[in-house]
Amino acid sequence: MSLTENMSPGLALGIHRTMVRIRVFESRVEELFKAGKLPGFVHTYIGQEAIAAGVCAALDRNDYITSTHRGHGHAIAKGMELGPIMAELYGKATGACRGRGGSMHVADFSVGMLGANGIVAGGLGIAAGAALSARYRGTHQVAVGFFGDGGINKGTFHEALNFAATHRLGVVFVCENNQYAQFTSRLRTTSVEDLSVRASAYGIPGITVDGNDAAATYREALEAVGRARDGGGPTLLNMETYRFGGHYVGDAEVYRASAEVEARRQADPILRWERTLTDEALMTAGLGEAVWAEAADEVSAAVRFAEESPHPDGGTALENVFTQVC
């Protein structure tokens, strides 16, 4: 069976393009942060691109996702434009959240991106609520809740999965198991090795997926999303991956051996996908280079947009605390 069997060439290339855009965006963010251009803190998605790209490729534009502190990749994959994301990271008035949110709170409700979230596992119940709402409104929208291996130990994981399972809601819970929560290996805080077994506590399917293989992330997401859309209830996908960078940009990474990082970097999801696409004659070297070049241009344009945009005016700081001021 061909790895890209269930995909059209356009889709396979689209997933590649999304991954590349995320990689280039995040690499530039890293540079910008190190150059002191960005306020706040940034958590980059480098190394995990196959997950956001594969999962979001299985979603419709009006489906929902909730995201995490490591949310740029999700935002891009769900269809947010790069300019407003970058401007948000700069704290500019043209940012996706008008500079109010920053890196950890990137959101665009118009494409179903219900927000990055600075609270670990904070999005899971919100995804369940969005799915409940979609069911009630009869729209067949699916909600994906992204979270990390650290988030799986939070009480809200349990409460959200139980609720979603009981009501057979159209949610897919996607655990991005990158092996660490901040500085701490998941093995030190988590009672089971294979995180997918946690699904059994709710009577729902739990599947461990090679999260660096875009074919697998897409395939499993497609199946889970299909089930969710058809009233078959939630799924827990445990996507095994690795973050190439530190927890945040600037992390000294004392907690993991550089040999481990080097070894894991070999499984680069983008290079791997490029090999697959090349093997299956869907991509040529020239095409690949064009995608990277295009992404670089696009990111440069986003940076330009952000840098040329004005900061919000301090006088507007009290706007939008409430919708209605009585």
């Binding site: 959240c97 927000g115 709402s133 009630y136 919708t323 009585c326």
Partner: protein, 325 residues
Amino acid sequence: MRRMSFGQATVDAMRSAMREDDRVVVLGEDISWGGNFGQFRGLLDEFGPDRVIDMPISEAIIMAVTVGAAVTGLRPVASMSFVEFTLGAMDEIVNQAAKFRYMFGGQVSVPLVLRASDGVLRSSAGQHSSSLEGLFTHLPGLKVVAPSNPADARGLLRAAIADDDPVVYLENKRITAKRGPVPAGDHVVPLGSAAVRREGSDLTIVTYSVMTLHAEKACSSLAEMGIEAELIDLRSLVPLDLDTVLSSVARTGRVVVAHEAWEFGGFGAEVVSAITGQAFDRLRAAPVRVGAAQAPIPFSPPLERAVVPGSDELVAAAREVMGLT
């Protein structure tokens, strides 16, 4: 005018809102059985289980689901029965519900109501007797209301559901069963408007919720002593109708601020500070606060009575502010 209890007022407000707008749903533990105080009785029959949703004992997820529903087109009402249970959902209330609109740059509204019962009711002890408005009022992004009679209960809940922002609706348990007149029709009380319950020229009593009832009694006692108190029932704590308070204080120059919640660091401190800040020259005496003593609420009735204030404490406070002690 109809006569109904607070509980019936809730049902009545919920029913009007749910009939008018099918985006309104209600979620909570035991809700299809009417909730802990019967405030949702009958809704299941009329609106069915898609709109009257029994939740597991998972307060955090009740709130998170409510937020998720609110930002995707519904207008959910979440019930937490005892206000102490909201402590298990504080992240969702404070970090999510209250902040979403602002943090996301105004692109979304969070039209939800969080309803909880607070206060002391016949020795419910430390984990079922608190009043926590002092927490909610401090945190930006939440509106907070606390009615003292069934008409306001009906009207404020209706306004809260119609409001596009998260509103915390707090109802004192001791008065939930009390009955009172409610105007006919779709009675609404706008958020942010205080009510003057009694006029008087000697001092101003500012309060809300159950304490308004104690204050009415205290006002009668004070009147017998020749002291005429003006009584302001805030009804809405955020937004706060400070104008009504200030215009009364400008006349009386003396003020007592009272609530059942703990006095130390309570909402009364905000009211006193705001009055002092804006009407210092009108004050003829230091404002006096009345609130619970700084202890968890004890079980045994004599202890509970010692910690939680009633009309006696209000009378004493009024006499103090009048310089009569």
